[in-house]
């Protein structure tokens, strides 16, 4: 993975001129405005709500803009037990999100199926969508979810964004 530096700026030292790399700047923009989408399916959603509430205050980390539309959100927080009946809906909503998009599997059920070794429960949401961060717990504490979001921020800040753009294959010609 390409090493990119943290975007840093001190007005007193550098005046109005900023030297940085495009990668670092883009990642800085992205990681400080993660708009999470709550995919609340079970009791983990209660902890997710607590995370969003005043006591834990996720706006400290620039990710408080919860959007309930997949079109407007960057990070899907799968909070709860994913049943097979729900799995296809989760997949469809993930597909509707715009790139770049991230997924946090919150809690034991979303990560592995948890205690539900059952005919009705998907054994981990990573079987249908790519997961960036797994959160242990049943349900995890809000601090654990905040930690996961900060891990996701670290992950985003290390992404080789520009070289990823170059790698994109051209769109197929319209017929």
């Amino acid at each position: 993975m390409t090493q990119t530096t943290e975007f840093g700026y001190d007005r007193n030292i550098e005046g109005d001129v900023i030297h940085t790399r495009v990668d670092a700047a883009l990642n800085w923009f992205r990681k400080n405005s993660i708009w999470p989408m709550p995919m609340g399916l079970a009791c983990c959603a209660i902890e997710l709500m607590a995370t969003g509430a005043s006591r834990f205050d996720i706006s400290r980390f620039g990710m408080e803009v919860m959007r309930f539309s997949p079109r407007q959100s960057d990070c899907m927080v799968v909070a709860g037990t994913v049943t097979y009946k729900m799995a296809l809906a989760v997949k469809r909503i993930y597909d509707q999100m715009a790139e770049p998009k991230y997924v946090i599997a919150m809690g034991a059920c979303a990560s592995t199926g948890g205690m539900y070794r059952s005919y009705s429960v998907l054994q981990g949401v990573d079987q249908i969508i790519p997961v960036d961060v797994y959160v242990a717990g049943c349900p995890p504490r809000p601090e654990a979810l905040l930690d996961a979001l900060m891990k996701l921020q670290n992950q985003i800040s290390r992404e080789p964004t520009v070289s990823n753009l170059k790698k994109l294959t051209p769109l197929p010609a319209k017929v």
Binding site: Y84, K85, A87, L88, G113, Y116, R117, S118, Y119, S120, V121, Q123, Q127
Partner: protein, 196 residues
């Protein structure tokens, strides 16, 4: 009047069809001998005896016995404040009985759930579709011969299931064994009598 009095009224009306009331911890249970006549019994209980609230309909899989299915109706009268339980049996070959949706409309979803989980059908039901699993799922997962971990299914672009990994399970206990090893056979191997 208490539940026993209502039970006796039912017996006066239907005679041999209704068994003697069995009492357990203050709850009265009646057996209805012929599942085909459950609607008349229920209609009488509702209209004449005031059992205007159907609290629940549930089903039992007496796997390995005949008749295999027991359908249980939990009746409650809001006016008289009394519970009454009706039970009726259905054989596996038949797996069908008349619906009571004409008596209590709430029976609609209860009967759909029984159909979905056990595969017992209700004749005359207005909308007998699956309610919890999706349309096209081929099994009835609450049957005793269905493995807890499930069976793989695939309905392309609609839904799929895989077998859940159960390390050494499902853990079952059987009463009457002389030591823990006998009482807990641990793994129950599923017999393949898929409820298609």
């Amino acid at each position: 009047m208490n539940a026993t009095d209502y039970a006796n009224k039912l017996r006066e009306k239907f005679g041999e069809l209704i068994s003697a009331p069995a009492e357990f911890r203050g709850e009265i249970t009646l057996n209805v001998a012929d599942a085909e006549r459950i609607v008349e019994v229920c209609a009488f209980a509702k209209k004449e005896l005031g059992f205007d609230f159907l609290a629940d309909v549930s089903s039992i899989d007496n796997y390995g016995e005949d008749p295999r299915w027991t359908i249980v109706y939990e009746l409650y009268g809001i006016g008289n404040g009394t519970y009454l339980r009706l039970k009726t049996s259905v054989s596996e070959e038949k797996s069908k009985l008349p619906t009571v949706t004409s008596v209590w409309r709430t029976a609609d979803w209860h009967e759909r759930e029984i159909y979905d989980m056990m595969g017992v059908r209700f004749r005359g039901h207005p909308d007998l579709r699956r309610i919890i699993m999706w349309e096209g799922y081929p099994y009835f997962p609450l049957r005793k011969d269905f493995p807890l971990g499930g069976k793989p299914t695939d309905l392309p672009d609609i839904a799929f299931t895989k077998t859940a990994p159960i390390e050494g399970g499902p853990f079952v206990t059987a009463p009457g064994g002389k030591d823990a090893i006998e009482r807990e056979p641990r793994v129950r191997m599923a017999e393949d009598k898929s409820g298609k």
